[in-house]
């Protein structure tokens, strides 16, 4: 069986490396990473790949859409993966954040292991990103609650524990998050000072 030529379009170097590692573990392929948006269409055409993998949300996807439509007599027709696979696989891929463009006529059993590997890697990034965002939000929440506590302690002459209890009680009465009440208080205090 001939080796498959795969292109990964990804700007982030670390991310690209990990995707390549995942793909190499799924079989013997030739994998090329394109990190630049400049001349993307030409670079891909030069490589004449069997499969192109790209983040679902990458703005350059529309360039690939154009390549997928080109099917002059001299070009290899490229079909979108979603055209030719079972819907479950497509959904899994897009939910994981990867879209794949596959050359027409490539057998599904050759595509599947590559897509599985790509989906697994993209899933991991997705999860990491979500965790990072959650951590950041939690940090922001804590900062704003600390500031609100300080304002209450100063204005009402109470200690930290009492200040937090007050915030929490207000939040519960209003059916809101403690951080939301804190941020309102901080904003109001800013207006008054």
């Amino acid at each position: 069986m001939t080796r498959l030529s795969i292109i990964v379009v990804e700007r982030d170097r670390d991310r690209a490396m990990r995707i390549v590692d995942g793909l190499m573990a799924s079989g013997t392929h030739q994998v090329v990473v394109i990190a630049e948006e400049t001349g993307l269409a030409r670079r891909i055409a030069d490589q004449n790949p069997d499969i192109v993998l790209i983040d679902v949300a990458d703005p350059s996807r529309d360039v690939l859409e154009e390549l997928a439509l080109v099917s002059g007599p001299m070009e290899r027709p490229v079909a979108m993966f979603v055209d030719r696979s079972d819907e479950q696989m497509t959904r899994a891929a897009i939910e994981a954040g990867v879209s794949a463009y596959v050359v027409d006529g490539l057998q599904p059993e050759r595509i599947k292991p590559i897509l599985d590997a790509a989906i697994a890697r993209f899933h991991m990034f997705h999860k990491m990103r979500a965790e990072l965002a959650a951590t950041k939000a939690a940090l922001e929440d804590r900062k704003i609650i600390d500031r609100a506590k300080a304002i209450l302690m100063k204005a009402r002459g109470i200690d930290e524990e009492a200040a937090y209890a007050l915030l929490r009680k207000t939040a519960m009465d209003q059916k809101r998050r403690v951080a939301d009440i804190a941020s309102q208080l901080v904003m109001a205090a800013g207006l008054l000072s």
Binding site: G39, A41, P59, D62, E65, E66, V82, I94, S99
Partner: protein, 391 residues
């Protein structure tokens, strides 16, 4: 009362205003809806998310659902366009090198005369032109093709897809000689000093349909109550956008970090029809540069679907008759009538017309008596009769 939440996808452009205004000014809430607006990065992403049910509706290029109906996309459930969101809003730009050469020849950058602009461009292009458009199925691609068809330059024209935020960069890198794109990206290129504006899209075709509100047919048919509410909220936002004096406020809202994240001064140019055509600040006033409502702009004429389908089918070797039939089915004039009558929309008597036949605002029969349609002529007098499509 809790609001029913709907997820709407949009690509950050000034013509996303109807969805953003519907949310921010409470038109959605008035209909008992909470619009969860999802910012998307590409048209392919918008299509995929709608096709897989990750969003309920999308702000989408008008030709995109037509291409889907013709089988030129992934195998998704059918899409329907339930209303037009905007006409115009596109601009054609040329590189600084071409602009300089045109200026040396005495061209004045009038922004509104396609024939003069085309002659001036052909005199300096050297028989070749690399043109950027945002997507293979876009009104921008149709405008460029229509403008240059039948000219000596036409054989030397290559059209490429370039993501709008990258247009300026691609032009600076010498990949593009010209592009046609929706605002604010044309103005952004002018601000970056890489090009000059040559023409408004509406100078080529007075009513180029730009974006539409697109749903899956399944959603539109099985959830008529929410579909109607969504359409009325967006329709009222469109009406608000065309009431005088509201555009500056719209620019402020749109420019916020969570939406376009741009200086309001930049988004305002297209919305007010005051475009800086060069980076030295030459301003051209183009009234109605973009239209969201007036002149029955929101009505999804089936003849328009047929026109676009005919043009696309010719380039992809598909049967034109079948393409036009499929396209007409996905422009839901029936839903437009059913859902917007109660909001006070006056509705034209017919659902198709001869496209390109009106050089001026024209009164036609409507359900309430008469309705004024905005002009829709092509600069070269071309017309399209859906009953007798000649080419």
């Amino acid at each position: 009362m809790t609001l029913a939440s709907l997820r709407l996808g949009y690509v950050p452009l000034i013509d996303a205003a109807p969805l953003i205004v519907a949310r921010e000014l409470g038109f959605a809430a008035e209909e008992g809806l909470d619009f969860d607006l999802i910012r998307l990065q590409s048209w392919a992403q918008s299509r995929d998310m709608l096709g897989l049910g990750a969003i309920d509706a999308a702000h989408m290029l008008v030709p995109l659902p037509i291409a889907q109906a013709m089988g030129l996309g992934p195998d998704f459930p059918a899409f329907d366009l339930v209303m037009i969101l905007s006409l115009g809003g596109q601009a054609i730009a040329v590189s600084a090198a071409l602009a300089d050469a045109m200026r040396s020849n005495g061209y004045g950058f009038g922004f509104d005369d396609p024939v003069v602009a085309r002659d001036a461009l052909m005199a300096v292009a050297g028989g070749r032109l690399q043109v950027g458009v945002p997507f293979p199925f876009s009104t921008q691609a149709e405008l460029v093709r229509h403008w240059l068809r039948g000219t000596e330059l036409e054989p030397g024209v290559t059209i490429h897809t370039v993501p709008p935020p990258r247009m300026a960069e691609a032009m600076a890198a010498g990949e593009l000689d010209a592009f046609c794109v929706g605002e604010p990206w044309a103005s952004y290129a002018v601000e970056s000093g890489v090009g000059a504006l040559l023409l408004a899209g509406r100078a080529i075709w007075a009513a180029p349909p730009e974006k539409g509100l697109v749903l899956t047919r399944q959603f539109a048919n099985t959830r008529p109550e929410e579909t109607g509410r969504m359409m009325r909220a967006v329709w009222r936002a469109c009406r608000w956008l065309d009431q005088s004096g509201n555009r500056s406020m719209a620019a402020e809202i749109l420019s916020r970090p969570e939406y376009l994240n741009l200086p309001p001064e930049l988004s305002e140019r297209g919305l007010l029809g005051r475009l800086h055509v060069t980076s030295t600040g030459e301003v051209r006033h183009f009234p109605d540069f973009i239209r969201f409502h007036d002149g029955a702009a929101n009505f999804p004429w089936r003849s328009l679907a047929a026109l676009l389908a005919q043009r696309i089918s010719g380039r992809h070797g598909l049967d034109a008759t079948m393409a036009m039939e499929a396209a007409k089915t996905c422009f839901r004039t029936d839903l437009y009538r059913d859902h917007l009558r109660s909001a006070g929309a006056d509705l034209p008597g017919a659902s198709a017309r001869i496209e390109g036949s009106m050089a001026h605002p024209t009164a036609v029969a409507s359900e309430k008596g008469q309705i004024i349609l905005g002009p829709d002529a092509f600069f070269d007098g071309d017309t399209f009769d859906p009953s007798f499509p000649s080419r």
